[in-house]
């Protein structure tokens, strides 16, 4: 029999409405309020061993302490599953359900599930950290909500893998994963094309992105002859032993190396570890990727003020947008704090 803990607010615990929203955290044995409907749906498959109750205001007044109390309680009782809510379209209650579920999943490794109206505020905040099933916007939909909570919750408690969100009847958690299908690609592609040709509805299997963020170009360098210029590359140019272990593709790391070291180019010499282009000509002469020779000549002529003491490198192939944005941000902050005025980024 699956042992379940259940989290609800003061209203569903029968303590009272808004006037009792400061009711403190407490733990009761067995099922309370909607927990009884959950037990009915469970039948002989499971039971609610304890109900955690907290007022909507008191939860958020000290969320950290209340979460610690939940963790301490479930750490002792070790349930197979935590169900929170359903909280429907409630703001504070929904956020409390999300926070409790996220903490219990992440810190105790216990599967968690809550039920929310898809547009409830807690959905965007916690969707990636706990399983959520969609409900109506009010407790009038309790019966249906309990059924889907129990059905999906029992799968989680029994250690079954998640299936695609629409197959499970869940709110999507914000990530994509491969799934096995028995409908061939060629058949799907042809059906989609013929529907499009007929003017019928069709559903793309990948949605196009929201409009990308526009990056305005920086202002022109006012005094080039006094500007310090840095070299940055995504061409994977690193010392030959790759001391910072920058990845050949799907990079998550960047590093900077002294240009004096690059100029010497022996012990260690530089090479490209980039897996997205044929690097033999760069290995033969790194100036082809990081044009230090040309920049030093311009500095000697007085065209630019000087070359920054370090060049920066990462690998730009298969890199995710998330890591790309983070690395760009980190490199830019370092360059600014070093007083660099402008950057030449060489790309493959």
């Amino acid at each position: 029999m699956v042992r379940i803990a259940h989290y609800i607010n003061q209203f569903f615990a029968g303590i009272g409405g808004e006037e009792k929203a400061d009711a403190p955290f407490e733990v009761r044995d067995g099922a309370v309020g909607p927990g009884r409907a959950i037990e009915m749906a469970l039948g002989a498959e499971g039971e609610i061993i304890q109900t955690l109750v907290c007022g909507d205001n008191s939860f958020h007044a000290d969320a950290e302490a209340n979460i610690e109390a939940v963790i301490a309680s479930l750490g002792r009782s070790k349930p197979d599953l935590l169900i929170a809510g359903p909280a429907f379209n409630a703001g504070r209650y929904g956020l409390a359900c999300g926070a409790v579920c996220a903490a219990v999943s992440e810190r105790l490794g216990i599967p968690t599930i809550t039920g929310l109206f898809p547009e409830a505020p807690a959905v965007d905040v916690y969707r990636s950290r706990t399983v959520m099933v969609p409900t109506g916007d009010s407790a009038a939909g309790m019966k249906g909500a309990v059924e889907v909570l129990v059905r999906t919750g029992m799968r989680l408690a029994q250690g079954e893998q998640l299936r695609p969100a629409d197959v499970d009847g869940r709110i999507p958690m914000g990530f994509r994963r491969s799934w096995v299908t028995d409908i061939p690609v060629a058949h799907r592609a042809t059906e989609m094309l013929l529907a499009k040709l007929r003017g019928d509805a069709f559903a793309s299997e990948v949605a196009l992105p929201e409009g990308a963020e526009a990056i305005p170009p920086a202002a022109a360098v006012a005094e080039l002859s006094s500007a310090t210029i840095a070299l940055v590359t995504e061409g994977g140019l690193v010392p030959e032993d790759n001391p910072d272990r920058i990845e050949s593709s799907s990079a998550t790391k960047w590093a900077r190396y002294p240009i004096s070291m690059l100029e010497r180019n022996e012990n260690p010499s530089f090479k490209s570890i980039h897996a997205g282009y044929d690097s033999q000509w760069v290995d033969a002469d790194p100036d082809r990727m990081v044009p230090l020779d040309a920049l030093k000549a311009l500095a000697a002529e007085g065209v630019i003020g000087g070359v920054h003491d370090y060049f920066y490198a990462t690998t730009g192939t298969g890199t995710t947008v998330t890591h790309g944005e983070r690395m760009g941000d980190e490199i830019a902050k370092q360059l600014i704090s070093d007083g660099v005025h402008a950057v030449i980024v060489t790309s493959t």
Partner: protein
């Protein structure tokens, strides 16, 4: 006189493969004469050794270092399969061809010299059973594996040619051992009748042509200078296109899947029923400059207009660079009034939270997913490994267990649609 657009394909269904001395097909079982195949492969002095093993669906067997796979085929009467490599230089797609269905000749090898940079043969793994079998379509056919040892004294480019000829010659030889066997099916493929009431669909068929280890061959010639070109579907199905793409395993299109291109099979099956199969536009993927990409993509869209296409299905081969070429072609076709669907793999990171496409155009509103190339798969211990003892690069024991990125699963996210994965919201 030969009918130029008609190909008669005889199919023998093979449901078992054994090694033995009495070559040929009997009751659906193909017997491979080990001595004869060994002698055939070792005629080439660039190959120092060959071990021949069979990997069957359902076995606890793993194949590593997969380079190319080829379906056994031979021409009946005039001509040769794979012209440009075998026989004279002529085109295919007409006459009669015999194929052994359910079998691949799969060549596995390391290269004699170390590689540097992008253009290197990378690890490519097939598991023949268990949960990990879904990561390669070659888990579903019987593979006659040629595990080759290179002559250590030759250069990689030379060995590359030897590998390709070994698999093509073996495939032709094996089909030849069944030449007097009664086929299970004979189908005439002919698309010359076009129904004016049905929409005309063209197939935009991108081939990777990036350099040695990432090359595709059209009638024996690399495609570096190929401009988008019309080719008859029968030519593709009859061996005009041979793969030499040995880079990332998840998205390479081996010769076997050119011979059995799932998009072409589908369009052929539906020709005259709910659409007309109007033709195939082959084109080079991985054009190096933006100007070359636009030139190639505009050219492909123009050809589709020339033949009066109403719709197009587009496939790519390779990663982000190739995706740009395909997406631009999608854009230009849509702008010319040709409706499109695009087949694409997904790259949303190992955890799946990033945006899944490399490059998009607003016109690409009908995308078919072939799954994530970024996931990491837990590979179990298996009973038998063919092709090598350790994985390339990491030298991890190939028997397992180990974690393996999708990149290294042989045709795991095959862009011609040969595998069973689809990316879904979780």
């Amino acid at each position: 006189m030969r009918q130029p657009h008609s190909l008669t394909m005889h199919t023998i269904e093979i449901d078992g493969v054994v090694l033995g001395g009495d070559a040929g097909v009997s009751n659906g079982t193909l017997t491979v004469d080990v001595i004869a195949v060994t002698a055939l492969v070792l005629e080439d002095p660039r190959i120092a050794g060959v071990e021949i093993e069979i990997a069957r669906p359902g076995e606890s067997t793993r194949i590593v270092h997969c380079l190319d796979a080829v379906e056994p085929r031979t021409k009946i009467g005039e001509g040769s399969v794979f012209p440009g490599f075998l026989g004279g230089m002529e085109t295919v797609g007409q006459g009669e061809t015999l194929r052994l269905a359910g079998v691949s000749v799969l060549v596995a090898s390391r290269y004699p010299q170390p590689f540097s940079g992008l253009l290197q043969a990378r690890e490519a793994v097939v598991d023949m059973s268990g949960d990990t079998a879904v990561y390669s379509p070659f888990s579903r056919v019987a593979n006659v594996v040629l595990a080759l040892t290179p002559n250590p004294d030759i250069e990689n480019d030379d060995y590359d040619d030897a590998v390709r000829r070994a698999s093509l010659r073996t495939a032709e030889y094996l089909a030849g051992t069944a030449a007097d066997h009664e086929p299970d099916d004979t189908t005439v493929w002919d698309f010359s009748d076009q129904d004016p009431d049905l929409p005309k669909v063209v197939y935009f068929y991108q081939l990777q042509g990036q350099g040695r280890m990432a090359d595709t061959f059209l009638y024996g010639h690399d495609i570096h200078n190929l401009v988008p070109t019309l080719i008859h579907p029968n030519e593709v199905l009859d061996g005009a296109i041979v793969s030499g793409v040995y880079v990332y395993a998840c998205y390479k299109n081996p010769t076997y899947l050119h011979q059995n291109n799932p998009i072409i099979w589908e369009l052929q099956a539906r020709h005259g029923k709910d659409m007309n199969f109007a033709g195939v536009i082959i084109n080079r993927g991985h054009n190096y400059t933006q100007a070359d990409k636009e030139r190639s993509s505009h050219w492909a869209a123009k050809l589709a207009e020339f033949i009066g296409a109403d719709g197009a299905i587009l496939t790519a081969e390779g990663g982000g660079n190739s995706a740009i070429d395909m997406m631009l072609a999608c854009q230009y076709m849509e702008q010319a009034g040709i409706k499109t669907t695009v087949v694409s793999s997904e790259a949303a990171g190992a955890d799946g939270y990033d945006f899944p496409l490399f490059y998009t155009v607003p016109e690409a509103d009908a995308i078919v997913s072939i799954g994530s190339e970024d996931e990491v798969i837990a590979m179990p211990k298996v009973e038998r490994v063919i092709g090598g003892d350790t994985l390339l690069d990491t030298e991890t024991p190939a028997i397992g267990p180990f974690d393996l990125k999708m990149y290294f699963h042989y045709c795991g996210t095959n862009q011609l649609g040969a595998n069973v994965l689809v990316g879904r919201e979780f």
